[in-house]
Symmetry: C2
Subunit: 155 residues, 2 copies
DNA sequence: ATTTTATTTTGTAAATATTACAATTTGAAA
DNA sequence: TTTCAAATTGTAATATTTACAAAATAAAAT
């Protein structure tokens, strides 16, 4: 795995200095599409680079997101999660196991919102519930949404 | 303003004890549809009830959300915001002034997601940008989304 | 109306995530 | 090679949320 060129390219294209920490963090996000937290990125990368600072992780994530190289997900509510993929897509979070997975659809409402006069910079579609794997382990249980809206299709 | 009956009804219907603090918090959320934070609810209500505890605010918000009397928004990323309205709708947050406003649309993807085998309990549509008012004060500026996807309609 | 009891409220302390800051290091331009 | 703005590091501070135990109280039982 010696493919750093990809990340160096991206950094240079954005006028950012190329540092080993930035390359490591980008590579980690690119190869771990689980939308990890800053803490997970830090603790995993620290194994191979013990001098890595948590502040560097936060600084880097902030810088990358400002350049739209990564996007920040607020789906969890307790910690920010980071996504190497910046093209619009939705996310599902399992409240049992914490997994966050991509849902590849694009939102049909963007045009409508633009017409309201606001400037839209980001859009996030978040769904929360219990994932297929967890359901198979623990049973399907109740679906709170069903009581409050009409479900289009049931599995 | 002596309409506590509404909130008492809701609490009783959900098998929750009726307390003045819970009534105050529900009434506040019902009458302040700005999706306030726990801190804002606390500091505003504390003026009329100086013995109110912040823990009570958090406990109450947690209890109300578990009974689906309110919903929790993770749109901000730095603090949770609370919404008395629980029927599905989207939100827009202005990154300049912090305002969060309702967008009344419903998501056409719910059926598709259900078909994937996950149990969906919540859905959140979050849009972020700069609101109309802030734009009029400070100019429209750049729209980062425009570079990454095709905008359907521009104002 | 009084007693009883499980629940709620309260205040403080602890936990967690994130940011601020100053000293040191370093990437890259000169 | 020298220079220097920018990045990294470690620590301290901040902010939000949760844990916990004692006191208060809503509501059920008497
Ligand atoms: Mn994603
Ligand atoms: Mn709302
Ligand atoms: Zn799961
Ligand atoms: Zn605004």
């Amino acid at each position: 795995m010696e493919k750093y060129e990809k990340y160096i390219e991206i950094l240079k294209k954005n006028g950012m200095k190329v540092t080993p920490q930035r390359i490591d963090i980008m590579k980690y996000l690119d190869e771990h599409r689980i939308h990890p937290s800053a803490e997970k990125i830090y603790s995993d990368l620290k194994e191979d680079n013990p001098s890595l600072s948590k502040t560097t992780v936060y600084n880097t994530l902030e810088a990358l997101s400002e350049h739209h190289i990564i996007q920040i997900l607020t789906i969890s509510g307790s910690e920010l999660r980071y996504d190497f993929k910046t093209t619009p897509h939705h996310h599902f979070m399992c409240k049992k196991c914490g997994a966050i997975i991509d849902i590849d659809v694009d939102c049909p409402y963007l045009g409508k919102f633009m017409g309201m006069g606001h400037r839209i910079d980001e859009m996030h579609g978040y769904f929360k519930g219990v994932c297929k794997d967890c359901l198979e382990k623990e049973g399907r249980g109740e679906n709170p949404l069903k009581t409050e809206m009409n479900i289009v299709s049931e599995v």
